[in-house]
Symmetry: C2
Subunit: 664 residues, 2 copies
């Protein structure tokens, strides 16, 4: 009969062999964490290989994503739809086994990892989601939401600042069903970590209020087993299990060294490791008894069936809650959503309010929160500035759940947590900070885009218009830079109506994230026709046209739309069209006929945005005009700054005439 | 006689009054930390108000930069060239008292802060610089480098992940002359921090190996005094002094609440606070005895004179070291630098090596290190991938100094530390990571640009050319986004020669930072004329021209330059010019005649870069062609990916013809 060591060795062999065949990859971590994975996956993890979307499954996150062969081996051995042919295609174009785990590509991969530390943030988000949903849906005797979130991570994740942000808030919230395994192998890419990482990690996590289980032998199944039991026994605190492991365990000449980390062991060393491990089988061959011992299909089927029975009872007792649960998990918006939005839009039109778009966003959030119980908001300690909280929001803390999280000053942690909440399913999550500090969170936004998930990021104080806080707080290049993240939709609305539409588009976009860039200062409301209102969602549209063929088109976004309109009004001798372009990304996806309708060829264009000027060359070309920012801002009252940087009717008019001359 | 409380109240009054007059700003922190500042600045800080550049001054960093009125008040009261007229101009356009402290704007401001946590990183960098320079220059009896670095910070800084990264490495390195003051007031913008920040901070810092002095009464001068003495007594560990304070101390109705944090107290409350504090003087009036007690000009003059005497002796005993020290502190490059570089360039030309530009960078670093003893390198745990280490590099650890730092997996911390080392003076500092992970560090790069300092950031694995690690590791939008940071020079060199020039330009650029984007894969060497070699430093130049007037111009950077040349060679029927554009930022600063020489009007253009396509519209216009990336990458071998994404002679040729058609 196969021993537990044999079962773990199956992972080691697949990792060594796949990396060797690809001639690239990371064998060290899978070989080091194989024993831990064997205990967790075979004895604890609730999952169903036949249905990776089983809603009440435990979540498993590989934050040290370079060790993806561990995960692929686990999925393959457990019976997921990841055949050996895919393992053999490790790191090849369009395989299901890319070089780092990718959500949406491989069945059973819960999140895209590789950029270190973010998996921890995702795990914290998943544990938060589980807790919120459990409290919302569970009823005595009917625990339909009840699962653990497990995270694997290494020294690299713990060195990253985001591990501090995410684990600190996890401790404060007391996420008892979050269990992390620290692969304490003492090695990172540059060698023995003692030269650059000497934290007393157990003490650090105790300082966060975690249960810490130190000094666990990561190669001893019994020790790992008791640690997991102990972790589960504490429901009030997240647990860190510190596992002493040997990187590249089994490789006689490379184990315990950075040489095992990030490149193939080499054919000879793989052979030597086979011998050392007592694994006599050829590459990519797993004996039947080992497959049998790993197979989680039967148990997984039973787990899901048990849950289905439980859920059927729940349906009978709480039919409304049950259908709400099903809707939520499917990610569909509720009936009545469209009607509610239409009503809100009518009210916005009637009110004609000239307010800051951050304020307009708060009003939109209030409407959405009344329609979407799945909405979970928050801010990185700028609630009153971002205006992300609404009237009936319930704050989430260590004792009770709700729908609003005070994330603290943790922009990156917040964003990775938002991704985790979104990935979990059943919730729509957003969070706010200042646009400048999108810099702190940027890679989490990128991963949301890569994963094609509906995370929503609110960035207020979106230009020099924030005024006196000065250049450290005034975004310049951020709007353009965010628009360049593939798949991201960046909205910079001009008034209450565009802000509402931005929110609605973000909520309806089920295949990717959105950013909303919002003003601190008041912006004028513009009247629109019914058609124009509907055009907002195309990302760019004619807001105010001239009679006849325009001589020039002014394209503007957000706070500069008002200036464009004023300029149009002032230049009575010219036929000027004003285009509002609240979301360039969506405009770029429109059919060419729409783009031509809005921006017909041959008419000179001028762009206005209090952000990177060069970005607008893609719309105005080399001969067009741009009034944007080519430098950092300054500390002064906002109106002074707009004057100083040339955002005046006078200056825009001047450039309009220059542009017309240049295009003569 | 003025009591210590009166002296601290002078700060409080100036902060309240300046914020009130500006009708914007943060009174709470200055009022809370005034007593701590009084003890530190009047009794410990070695500085000379008449010469903010006195080289052996203690460094003072206000990481919680929103409390800048504390610093402005200190500078004003101590006798810096910051008259009351500037205090009255707080937060006004072009005043010396902007809304957050800005390096280069206000005499005595050591670094730009506001984006939370980064000041801590800067402080760690300054303490590292002091230690390196002390070991290098000091001789028994001649301690010409010997100063402390003091950092003020609040809860916000401690929540930020970068505080973890920077303080963890500071502990490992045992930076005994770094002393931080934690403004433990229990309040952040969203309110009482206990809802989102419950770390046991003393324990956390003990886990980093720091000396922690907990429970200091931040309003009791004697307690603060003994804490500072205790901090100084431990030369082997950095010290955190945890000061319990009351935010907005003295404001009867707002003290101890977030209401005191970020807005004016209001005229009535300012009046009430005056009464509460016993400060009867009108706004912006400081009695003479209080000025006298604060004045640090006499003591500062003596401190600098003492140091000058010490340095004169040093000059006599170690004349070479002394002149080297003076050179270093002035930031000048050594004699022989140009000759050394010329020699290296000749050798590069002779070798004609086709190697990865990361490898070319390593060779350049070796040359520079032999010429510049002030060069301090490092990597965020990717030394063997970034190739940032050179043959004779000496690793810095807690026992000894050197010129290479293993930063661990801490990209943001590393970058803020590099800024701190640079700001300290006497050293030229660089560090490496993968280009994708520039995302993690982005705001530190931005601050280097805003501060106009010579930090150098090495980003390898600069495109899909890294291959199998896949889309999480393949930068797409990063090159374009970094170029949009005002003042940043982003280099993407094409071969060994351009890489050398990129390094030389970065080192010579004394007024701002540079990024070097380097390939993982080998790139072909291109022969150039003497003139062309000299043209590289113009950022864009004609690399290979056709005979006669070109019909089309292909602009390329880095790894795509070789493809441009191959296409040119293949399209024998067309007159194609190839322009290499290793640094768009520098090209944009060239005189128009040069730009016209390289890219004459009226000739169609096509851009090639394995990064965001849209960026290139600013050079090719609406009618030009671009082969770039419009999506994320994939996990596969690099050559497969270049084929898949259209970076082939065939595809470029096709687009060349299409572009010519479109421009007919």
């Amino acid at each position: 009969m196969a021993t537990r060591k044999d079962l773990a060795n199956a992972i080691r062999a697949l990792a060594m062999d796949a990396v060797q065949k690809a001639n690239s990859g990371h064998p060290g971590m899978p070989m080091g964490m194989a024993d831990i994975a064997e205990v967790l996956w075979r004895k604890h993890l609730h999952h169903n290989p036949a249905n990776p979307h089983f809603p009440n499954r435990d979540r498993f996150v590989l934050s040290n994503g370079h060790g993806c062969m561990l995960l692929y081996a686990l999925l393959h051995l457990s019976g997921y739809n990841l055949p050996m042919s895919e393992i053999k295609q490790f790191r090849q174009l369009h395989s299901k086994t890319p070089g780092h785990p990718e959500y949406g590509v491989t069945p059973g991969v819960e999140t895209t990892t590789g950029p270190l530390g973010q998996g921890i943030g995702n795990g914290v988000g998943m544990a938060i989601a589980e807790r919120i949903l459990a409290e919302y849906f569970n009823r005595p005797g009917h625990e339909i939401v009840n699962h653990y979130t497990y995270v694997f991570h290494g020294d690299g994740c713990l060195m990253e600042g985001i591990s501090h942000e995410a684990c600190s808030i996890a401790g404060t919230l007391g996420l008892g069903k979050l269990i992390m395994f620290y692969d304490d192998n003492g090695i990172s890419i540059d060698g023995a970590v003692k030269g650059w990482f000497t934290d007393d990690t157990p003490k650090r996590f105790e300082a966060y209020g975690w249960q810490v289980i130190p000094h666990v032998d990561g190669h001893n199944a019994e020790s790992i087993e008791s640690a997991i039991l102990m972790a589960k026994s504490d429901q009030a605190r997240p647990t860190l299990i510190c596992c002493k492991t040997v990187i590249g365990f089994g490789s006689p000449n490379k184990a315990g060294s950075e040489k095992a980390h990030g490149s193939p062991l080499g054919i000879d060393e793989v052979a030597a490791a086979r011998k050392e491990l007592g694994w006599p089988y050829p590459p990519f061959v797993i004996p039947e008894d080992i497959y049998a011992a790993w197979d989680a299909k039967v148990q997984g089927k039973r787990l899901e069936e048990d849950w289905n029975i439980k859920f059927s009872k729940y349906c009978k007792t709480f039919p409304e809650l049950a259908s709400e649960y099903e809707r939520r998990v499917s990610g569909q918006l509720p009936d009545g959503f469209e009607v509610g939005i239409e009503k809100a839009i009518s009210s916005i039109i009637a009110k004609r309010e000239s307010i800051a778009t951050r304020k307009a966003s708060q009003q939109a959030i209030s409407v959405l929160a009344s329609l979407l119980p799945e909405l979970i908001g928050g801010s990185a300690d700028l609630t009153e500035s971002n205006l992300t909280e609404w009237a009936n929001a319930q704050q989430i803390n260590h004792q009770k759940n709700g729908n609003y999280l005070h994330y603290g000053v943790r922009e990156f942690g917040m964003s990775a947590i938002i991704n985790g909440i979104t990935l979990h399913g059943g919730l729509i999550s957003f969070g706010g900070t200042f646009l400048t500090f999108s810099d702190y969170a940027r890679n989490a936004l990128r991963l949301a885009s890569l994963m094609k998930i509906r995370s929503i990021f609110i960035f207020t104080h979106d230009s020099i218009g924030l005024g006196e806080d000065g250049p450290t707080h005034q975004p310049i290049e951020q709007a353009a830079s965010l628009r360049y993240i593939p798949g991201m939709d960046v909205w910079r609305p001009a008034d209450t109506l565009e802000t509402m539409q931005a929110w609605v588009s973000a909520v309806k976009k089920s295949n990717g994230p959105s950013c909303l860039l919002l003003s601190r200062q008041n912006l004028p409301f513009t009247d629109r026709s019914v058609e124009q209102i509907s055009d907002i969602k195309r990302g760019g549209y004619i807001l105010k046209d001239c009679a006849g063929q325009p001589e020039i088109i002014i394209i503007a976004t957000g706070s500069e739309v008002g200036l464009a309109l004023k300029t149009q009004e002032a230049m009575t001798d010219l036929r000027v069209r004003v285009v509002s372009m609240p979301c360039t990304n969506i405009f770029d996806r429109q059919e060419p006929s729409w783009q031509q309708h809005v921006l017909p060829d041959g008419i000179p264009r001028l762009a206005l945005e209090a952000g990177t000027a060069d970005f607008w060359r893609k719309y105005v070309g080399l001969e067009g005009g741009v009034i944007g920012m080519n430098s950092f801002g300054e500390s002064a009252p906002a109106d002074k700054l707009f004057d100083y940087f040339g955002f005046t009717v006078e200056n825009v008019s001047k450039l309009v005439r220059q542009t017309l001359m240049a295009n003569k």
